[in-house]
């Protein structure tokens, strides 16, 4: 059978305390103004791919795709610098899309194909509504492949489908709607239970054998009733990060799974059950490979590096919910398709060039070396995992930003090369020359419906 070979997660830097909404405990994770589901998925996938064997395809699951028409998985594909022959497809329209990706990838593994499954969501609810309050933004990624290399083997699975109007949104609507919660709970609850039992039966284990049960569904009541319906104990129920991240749409179950894998030991069995228009269930058994297969950043590490002082109106501005006075500066220029295509590896994958004559790193990649003048003697130089330090910086209060002031810096890379770029996820009062930074893939801005992705530097998380 198939299994998870590698995994990664991403939780954005900003958190909004639920007291900001006037109710609720804990806080929700908030994608920064320069992040979207694709950019967050890239961050999670970079974690999953580090040290992973090559993949043959990418699946991207989200209910908040940056483009309604145009492949979004190709943005991930480009940012991850995957070979052209790697296939890419989007899954969406349901918070079940994340686990659907895992199940599809398991099927593909049987035919020898290794798949990168990414799930990511920026969850936006109507102001002061339940979805805004319980939602959160996050991403996760899994490399799914063949059994022998797995850190967690798929030992059971089940899928049930029923047409059910519980949570819905038409393409032209901002915020989803939900039917009376009690109805959804009555219908979804039993579906979750049945899917779980079928998958456990296939695995040949009892609910009591589970070390972690992960439940996610569109209906809070249905989610809450499953542990009791299966007869599992409270300590078997996995933390779905509701108090620290919030329910992150299509990424929610996967993020909880990543967290469970962070804590798992060989032999542990983990069940993931996700409900929406039916239910999918997956039972995994952790293998001895787990210790060597963990990502650099655990979920706990992402959770620890944060800023929780975001103001609610700022959050609403970032999500485009609250209109505000535009700056007395022109809109940035819309990036053009041909130049973006020509510089794909620079723009998306942050691949520069190194002169083969004098070994100077040139950023952006050049034809004529900035140091020695040698022409057309460059080789590609991957920079996305390179560390850098602030050579000098400034706070630009004239430049327009959804989070002023813009922190603009000149950064010098350890492996050579210098770049002038924006910093993100930081406190402008604490920036200093010499600070160590790492690169992160971001959506700089959107003009005329074109998302402009590029890399920024951020303090190490």
């Amino acid at each position: 059978m198939a299994g998870i070979v590698r995994y990664g997660a991403y939780v954005p830097f900003f958190r909004l305390p639920r007291t900001a909404f006037g109710a609720g405990k804990g806080e929700r994770a908030v994608a920064s103004y320069d992040e979207d589901s694709a950019s967050m998925a890239v961050e999670a996938a970079r974690e999953a791919l580090r040290g992973a064997p090559e993949v043959h395809g990418v699946l991207f699951a989200t209910t908040s795709p940056p483009y309604a028409e145009k492949l979004n998985a190709s943005t991930l594909h480009a940012a991850l610098d995957l070979p052209r022959a790697v296939s890419a497809a989007d899954l969406g329209a349901s918070t079940r899309a994340g686990i659907a990706g895992l199940l599809l990838a398991s099927d593909l593994a049987a035919s020898g194909r290794r798949t990168l499954v990414c799930a990511s969501d920026v969850v936006v609810g109507a102001p002061e509504g339940a979805r805004e309050r319980v939602g959160g933004d996050a991403a996760c990624a899994f490399v799914v492949g063949d059994d022998p290399e797995a850190i967690a083997r798929v030992i059971g699975r089940a899928s049930l489908t029923e047409e059910l109007l519980d949570t819905w949104r038409t393409p032209d609507e901002r915020f989803p709607r939900a039917w009376e919660e009690r109805f959804g709970a009555e219908v979804l609850g039993p579906l979750l239970r049945e899917a779980a039992i079928r998958a456990l039966q296939e695995a040949g284990i009892q609910p009591a054998d589970l070390s972690a049960l992960i439940v996610d569904s569109t209906n809070e009541r249905a989610t809450a009733t499953l542990p009791k319906a299966l007869g599992v104990k409270a300590e078997q129920v996995a933390d779905t990060l509701s108090l620290s991240v919030g329910r992150s749409g299509a990424a929610a179950a996967g993020l909880a799974l990543a967290h469970a894998l962070d804590l798992a030991k060989p032999g542990d069995r983990i069940a993931v059950v996700v409900g929406a228009d039916g239910a999918d269930a997956l039972v995994l058994e952790v293998t001895a490979r787990i210790a060597a297969g963990r990502p650099r950043h655990s979920v706990a590490r992402w959770l620890a590096a944060k800023r929780s002082d975001l103001a609610y109106p700022t959050y609403l501005k970032w999500r485009g919910v609250l209109p505000f006075e535009p700056p007395r500066r022109p809109d940035p220029d819309r990036p053009a398709a041909p130049p973006m295509h020509r510089s794909e590896r620079w723009k998306y994958a942050f691949v520069g060039s190194r002169c083969t004559a004098c070994h100077t790193v040139n950023l952006p990649p050049q034809r004529v070396c900035v140091a020695c003048g040698a022409a057309d003697q460059m080789k590609a130089e991957a920079m996305s995992d390179a560390r850098c330090r602030i050579a000098t910086y400034t706070l630009d209060r004239l430049a327009y930003s959804l989070q002023p002031p813009v922190v603009a810096a000149v950064v010098d890379f350890e492996q050579g090369g210098r770049l002038q770029c924006e910093l993100t996820d930081m406190d402008p009062t604490r920036v200093a020359i010499g600070d160590e930074l790492e690169m992160t893939f971001r959506r700089l801005f959107t003009v005329n419906g074109v998302h402009n992705y590029f890399w920024k530097a951020r303090p190490q998380r």
């Binding site: 700056p327 007395r328 500066r329 022109p330 940035p332 220029d333 990036p335 053009a336 041909p338 130049p339 973006m340 020509r342 510089s343 620079w346 723009k347 100077t360 040139n362 950023l363 952006p364 900035v370 140091a371 050579a391 000098t392 910086y393 400034t394 706070l395 630009d396 209060r397 004239l398 430049a399 813009v406 603009a408 000149v410 010098d412 050579g416 090369g417 210098r418 770049l419 002038q420 770029c421 924006e422 020359i433 700089l444 402009n452 992705y453 590029f454």
Partner: protein, 391 residues
């Protein structure tokens, strides 16, 4: 192979300059007409006598028609030039070469920029279609990088640095207060400069040049013809223009305390003019004080101050109007604002007045050599122009 220059082969025989400011009632065409008319009168020539034109503007029009149409120039060559913020100087340089070559007898260089029609704060430039990865730092942000780098390299604390920068703005406003054509004609107290709201890094709004509209023009001819037009021509001793390889933003060696392009253009100009000791031979200078740290660094790049010591010269008043080497006697970009295409020629207009003894309350005693310096781009990635003129 060298930059040989055209020392004393070309003279400026007439100039015009509009008041700089927010000309809500005038478009670029009006400003061009005003500057050109004053320039024709200054050289005492009929428009028909001018054989060729070089028009400098970055964003107020394209092609020679931007000038020939409003002035109804009768079937003459008009060349549009653009070279960032050094555009006006570039128009002059090319006009000088045109008459020096003998191709024309009389040429006009004219620059204009109409900035106040955009409705935006600060300078707004739109480039060619791109991939969206270029740095979008604003001009004050890029030039603000000079200040902390200079302070660190030469051991200035934050308060001293702030005092030095404020002193530069103070001096330029002091001079501008004595200039009827300046945009800002008021002295500004040091404390008000230091307390101005932050724009970028340590730069307050009073560390930045203003945004204005304006136009300026010069008529040039071969030196031997100069006295046909005026008793007091001024002579071109040197013209240097340098575009750098833009390595600062890419090379870790660059430390943001100097403009290599300025050093190169100054060296070239001094060689052309036979100047060996600029600190003592250059009587006065108009330099590109787009932001206060720029002027500080320029004093060293132009050789007016030894490395690391310009800040002391600033504090000691060396570059004041009554100091030993006045810099920006007309008030500089600080008092005039910076209508891109016009600024370089506006600088030359002050040299014209000073060398002819027509600068009124700003008149410098017996100036011999004047220097104009015009810069475009950003630290580490710029173009630089230096001219030297004299009697």
């Amino acid at each position: 192979m060298a930059s040989k220059g055209i020392r004393d082969r070309v003279a400026i025989v007439g100039m015009g300059c509009t008041p700089f400011g927010e000309h809500w009632d005038k478009g670029a065409a009006d400003l061009l007409i005003d500057a050109a008319s004053e320039c024709y009168r200054s050289a005492q020539v009929d428009p028909a006598a001018v054989d060729a034109y070089w028009l400098g503007t970055m964003g107020s029009g394209l092609s020679g028609l931007t000038l020939s149409e409003p002035l109804r120039i009768q079937y003459k060559p008009v060349t549009h030039v653009e070279n960032f913020c050094a555009t006006g100087s570039e128009a002059l340089r090319n006009a000088c070469y045109a008459v020096a070559s003998g191709a024309y007898d009389l040429a006009m260089a004219i620059g204009v920029e109409k900035l106040k029609d955009s409705g935006y704060s600060g300078l707004v430039v739109s480039g060619p279609a791109g991939d969206g990865t270029d740095s979008t730092m604003t001009a004050p942000a890029t030039f603000s990088l000079l200040a902390p780098a200079y302070a660190k390299k030469y051991g200035l604390d934050e308060a001293t640095l702030k005092d030095v920068l404020a002193r530069i703005a103070y001096k330029n406003h002091y001079n501008g207060a004595r200039n009827p054509k300046a945009q800002f004609r008021k002295e500004v107290p040091l404390e008000a400069i230091k307390a101005s709201p932050k724009v970028a890094g340590c730069l307050g709004i009073m560390d930045c040049s203003g945004v204005s509209d304006g136009s300026a023009a010069a008529i040039v001819c071969r030196a031997e013809d100069a006295h046909r037009y005026t008793d007091q021509p001024i002579f071109v001793k040197a013209l240097s223009f340098i575009a750098g390889p833009a390595e600062g933003p890419m090379r870790q060696e660059y430390d943001f305390t100097s403009f290599a392009e300025v050093v190169a253009s100054a060296e070239d100009a001094y060689k052309q003019a036979g100047v060996t000791d600029p600190r003592h031979e250059i009587s006065m200078a108009e330099v590109h004080d787009c932001f206060t740290p720029t002027e500080l660094v320029l004093m060293e790049d132009l050789g007016f101050s030894p490395r690391g010591e310009a800040w002391k010269d600033v504090v000691e008043g060396r570059f004041d109007l009554k100091g030993p080497q006045p810099v920006n006697p007309d008030g500089g970009l600080k008092s005039f604002g910076h209508p891109i295409g016009a600024s370089g020629l506006r600088m030359m207009y002050e040299m014209w007045l000073q060398l002819r003894g027509e600068a009124g309350p700003r008149q410098i005693d017996h100036p011999k050599l004047g220097l104009t310096h015009n810069l475009g781009g950003a630290p580490g990635r710029c173009v630089s122009f230096v001219s030297i003129v004299g009697k």
